[in-house]
C-alpha cells in the first residue's frame, strides 16, 4: 500500500509542475485566444535564466523565481509581437505555424548560445526528507507544491481583485466589447500572454531543480504536456487546467506503477482521449476563447 501511496506522491509532485505549466498555458490561450507551441521553449528559457542567475549571483530561490519570470516575460513580448499581433483576424492555423516556427528558432538558437550539452542545475535548497504517514516526501517535492500553490493563489487574486485581472478577464471573454469599454485590448492581451509565459518560466526553473539538470531540448516534451493538461482542463479555464496537470501527472505515474514505464506517454494521451470522448470540452464547464 505504501508503494502506491508513494507513487501517488510522485505523481502529485510531478503533476504540480505540469499544473503550473498548464496554468500558464491556459492563461495564454484564454487571453490571446490562440493555441501556442512555444510554451516548451518558454519553459526552457526560464530554466536557463535561473541557471545563470544561480551561477553568477547567488543560489537564492527568490532570485531564481524573479529572473526566470522576467526572462520568460520578455520572451513573451517577442512571441506576442512575432506570432500573434498581426494574426488576430486570421484563421487560427496561421499563428499556430508561426509558433511552431518560433519554437524551432528558439530551440536552435539555444543550442548555439547555451551549448548543446546537458548542464547541472545548482540546488538552491538542501535535500531533506519528511515522513508523512509512512511515506517519505523530500523537500524539493514540498517546495514545488508550495510554490505552485502560492503562485496560483497570486494569479487568482490578480485575476479577480485587481484592475489588470478584470481587464484580462474581460478581454478573454470578448475582445470587441472590452475595446468599447475603453480597455487597451492589444496591451492587455500582451500582458496576459506575458503572465502566462512568466509562469511557464518559473515552472521551468522548478523542473530544472527537480531533475538537477538543464538541456536546450528539454522544452519539447514539456510544452506538449502543458498543452495536454490544459486541454484536459478545457483549454482556457485556469483552475481546471491545474487540475488537468495534476491528473496527467498522477495518471503517468500510476500507469508506470501498475503497467510499464515504456508506455508512459501513452497513458497520458489515452486518458486525455477518453476524457475528450466523454466530455468534448474537457473537464470544465465554461468554454471561452476561440479553441
Amino acid at each position: 500500500m505504501d508503494y502506491y501511496l508513494m507513487q501517488l506522491v510522485n505523481g502529485l509532485s510531478q503533476g504540480a509542475i505540469y499544473a503550473l505549466m498548464a496554468i500558464g498555458y491556459a492563461t495564454i490561450v484564454g487571453v490571446v485566444g490562440m493555441v501556442t507551441f512555444t510554451h516548451g521553449e518558454v519553459i526552457m528559457i526560464g530554466a536557463y535564466a535561473a541557471f545563470y542567475a544561480f551561477s553568477f549571483f547567488a543560489e537564492n530561490l527568490f532570485l531564481g523565481i524573479i529572473t526566470s519570470f522576467a526572462a520568460s516575460w520578455l520572451l513573451g513580448i517577442v512571441i506576442y509581437k512575432v506570432c500573434y499581433e498581426r494574426f488576430f483576424d486570421s484563421p487560427r492555423h496561421i499563428p499556430l505555424i508561426c509558433t511552431i516556427g518560433f519554437s524551432m528558432l528558439i530551440k536552435n538558437l539555444a543550442q548555439i548560445v547555451f551549448g548543446p550539452n546537458m548542464k547541472a542545475m545548482p540546488q538552491p535548497i538542501d535535500l531533506g526528507f519528511i515522513n508523512v504517514l509512512g511515506v517519505r516526501i523530500n523537500t524539493i517535492q514540498i517546495l514545488i507544491i508550495v510554490i505552485v500553490i502560492s503562485l496560483s493563489t497570486i494569479l487568482y487574486i490578480v485575476n479577480s481583485k485587481t484592475r489588470w485581472g478584470i481587464q484580462l478577464r474581460a478581454v478573454s471573454q470578448d475582445k470587441k466589447a472590452s475595446a468599447l469599454m475603453g480597455i487597451n485590448v492589444q496591451r492587455t492581451t500582451m500582458i496576459g500572454n506575458c503572465i502566462g509565459c512568466g509562469l511557464g518560466g518559473v515552472a521551468g526553473m522548478l523542473l530544472a531543480i527537480y531533475y538537477q539538470s538543464i538541456l536546450p531540448t528539454m522544452g519539447g516534451v514539456l510544452g506538449l504536456k502543458s498543452f495536454i493538461s490544459s486541454v484536459l482542463g478545457g483549454l482556457t479555464n485556469i483552475p481546471a487546467a491545474a487540475l488537468g496537470g495534476i491528473l496527467i501527472g498522477v495518471t503517468e505515474n500510476l500507469g508506470t506503477a501498475f503497467l510499464s514505464n515504456s508506455y508512459r506517454d501513452v497513458f497520458a494521451f489515452v486518458f486525455l482521449v477518453l476524457v475528450l470522448i466523454i466530455k468534448p470540452e474537457g473537464i470544465s464547464k465554461k468554454v471561452g476563447g476561440r479553441p
Binding site: Y3, M6, Q7, N10, G11, Q14, N108, Q111, G115, P116, N117, M118, K119, A120, L127, F129, R136, N138, I140, L207, Y211, Q212, S213, L215, P216, T217, M218, G220, V221, E252, N253, T256, A257, S260, N261, S262, R264, D265
Partner: protein, 387 residues
C-alpha cells in the same frame, strides 16, 4: 510597383534556390588532389546536437594534430562536416552527394544507427567506407563490406558486465536492471540477460524507458519495491546522472553500476556526490593518471566547452584509424584500398584502446572496471579475470 517587386523577389528566390542546389555538388575536382578528404556525417542541429558537436570537435582535433605533424605522407587531412539533423532522409541524400564526388575518400559517421543504416546501401553500392564511431545496431556493420563500427559489440561488454563487474567484483545478488529503449540499449540488455541466466544472477526487476525521458522517479520507486541490492543501468552518461540524482532524492541506498557511459567526467559534473561508488565497465579510461587521455580531454573541453563523453573519444579514433589504414596502402590511395586496409588493419591502438575489425566490420573490445571515488575514476583490478 509592389506587384512587380514581389514577382521579381519570387523569381530571384526560386533561381537562387535552384542554382544553390545544382551548384553545390559540382564543387569537387578529380581524385588525385593533394589532400585527403573525409566526409563527417553528424547531427549538428536537432535533438542529437550535443553528440554532433562532440563529433565535429573531436574529429577536427584529430585532423589538426595529424596535419601539424605533416599529415599522411605529406598530404593534409581535410574534413567536411555534413549536418544530418538525425534524419535518415537527409543523411541518405547527403550520402548520394558524397558518392558522386570523387574527392571524399571515406565517410566518418553517422551518429545514430537509423541514419547509418539508411546510408549503408547507398555507400556500399558506391564502394565507399562508412566508419561509424557510434552506430551500434547489431546488424549495421554486417550490412555490406564497406560498413564499419568501432563502438564495440554488445556480446563483449554485456557478459563482462554481468560476470565480472556484477558478480565477481561487486558481489551483487539481486539486480534491478534499467535500460534505454533504443537499438543499443536493447541489444546490450538482451546480451546481458543471456549472461545473467548462465551466471545464475538474480534479476529482480527489469524496466526500460524511451529516449529523452527526464523523470525516473516512478520507475525507480517501482524498481525499489522489488528490493534489489544493486542497480544495473544500461544507458549513456546524461541518463546515468539523472538516475543517480533521483535515487538520491528518493533517499534510497543502493549500489549503482553502469554499462555504457564510460569514464566521462560529465557524470561527475552532473551528479556530483550522488555517483560516488558508482561502478562501471569501460574499454578505456580518461583519468589524470592516463596523461595522454587526460590531455585529450582537457583539449576537448577547451574546444567544445563541455566534458567529453565516450562518443567524441571514439569519433577521435576514427580519424586515426583512417590515417593508419591509408599509411598501409601500397600503391594508389583509392576508396577500395582504404576499405581493404581498414579491414586488415592490425595492431592499431587508439585513445579508446586496441581496435581490430572482425569480418563483418565491427569490433569486440576488452573491458575494465572503474569506480568513482572522491569525484575521480579509479581502476579496479582485484578480481579474477580470465581472458
Amino acid at each position: 510597383m509592389r506587384k512587380y517587386l514581389s514577382i521579381i523577389m519570387t523569381v530571384v528566390l526560386l533561381t537562387a534556390l535552384l542554382a544553390g542546389c545544382s551548384n553545390a555538388p559540382d564543387s569537387g575536382g578529380s581524385g588525385d588532389s593533394d589532400v585527403y578528404k573525409f566526409a563527417v556525417f553528424a547531427p549538428i542541429t536537432g535533438n542529437y546536437a550535443e553528440y554532433g558537436k562532440g563529433f565535429e570537435v573531436a574529429t577536427q582535433m584529430a585532423a589538426d594534430e595529424i596535419n601539424a605533424e605533416g599529415g599522411i605522407d605529406g598530404k593534409e587531412i581535410v574534413l567536411e562536416v555534413f549536418d544530418t539533423k538525425g534524419d535518415p532522409k537527409e543523411s541518405a541524400d547527403i550520402s548520394r552527394r558524397v558518392t558522386e564526388n570523387d574527392e571524399y575518400l571515406a565517410v566518418i559517421g553517422d551518429f545514430s544507427s537509423s541514419n547509418a543504416m539508411a546510408n549503408a546501401p547507398i555507400l556500399g553500392e558506391a564502394g565507399i567506407v562508412q566508419l561509424s564511431p557510434t552506430a551500434s545496431h547489431t546488424d549495421y556493420a554486417g550490412m555490406n563490406e564497406y560498413m564499419f563500427s568501432i563502438m564495440g559489440r554488445q556480446d563483449g561488454e554485456a557478459p563482462f558486465f554481468s560476470t565480472y563487474l556484477l558478480q565477481k567484483y561487486a558481489g551483487a545478488e539481486d539486480v534491478g536492471v534499467i535500460y534505454i529503449n533504443n537499438d543499443w540499449g536493447k541489444s546490450a540488455y538482451d546480451n546481458f540477460m543471456l549472461q545473467t541466466e548462465k551466471d545464475g544472477l538474480n534479476v529482480v526487476s527489469e524496466e526500460n524507458y524511451v529516449e529523452g525521458e527526464k523523470d525516473f522517479t516512478s520507475l525507480l520507486t517501482k524498481v525499489r519495491d522489488s528490493n534489489p541490492d544493486t542497480l544495473a543501468l544500461i544507458m549513456h552518461a546524461n541518463d546515468v546522472a539523472l538516475i543517480a540524482n533521483q535515487v538520491n532524492q528518493l533517499g534510497w541506498d543502493v549500489n549503482l553500476t553502469a554499462l555504457g557511459p564510460g569514464t566521462s567526467m560529465q557524470i561527475i559534473e552532473l551528479a556530483g556526490e550522488n555517483v560516488e561508488r558508482l561502478l562501471l565497465s569501460t574499454p578505456f579510461f580518461i583519468t589524470e593518471e592516463n596523461e595522454e587521455a587526460w590531455a585529450w580531454s582537457e583539449e576537448f573541453k577547451s574546444r567544445a566547452g563541455f566534458e567529453p563523453t565516450v562518443h567524441p573519444a571514439v569519433a577521435y579514433d576514427t580519424v586515426y584509424l583512417l590515417k593508419a589504414a591509408i599509411e598501409n596502402i601500397e600503391g594508389d590511395v583509392t576508396r577500395d584500398a582504404v576499405r581493404e586496409e581498414l579491414q586488415n588493419l592490425d595492431g592499431f591502438v587508439g585513445l579508446t584502446g586496441p581496435i581490430k575489425f572482425n569480418e563483418s566490420g565491427d569490433i569486440t573490445r576488452k573491458y575494465l572496471i572503474m569506480e568513482i571515488e572522491d569525484g575521480k575514476f579509479i581502476q579496479k583490478t582485484e578480481f579474477d579475470y580470465v581472458d
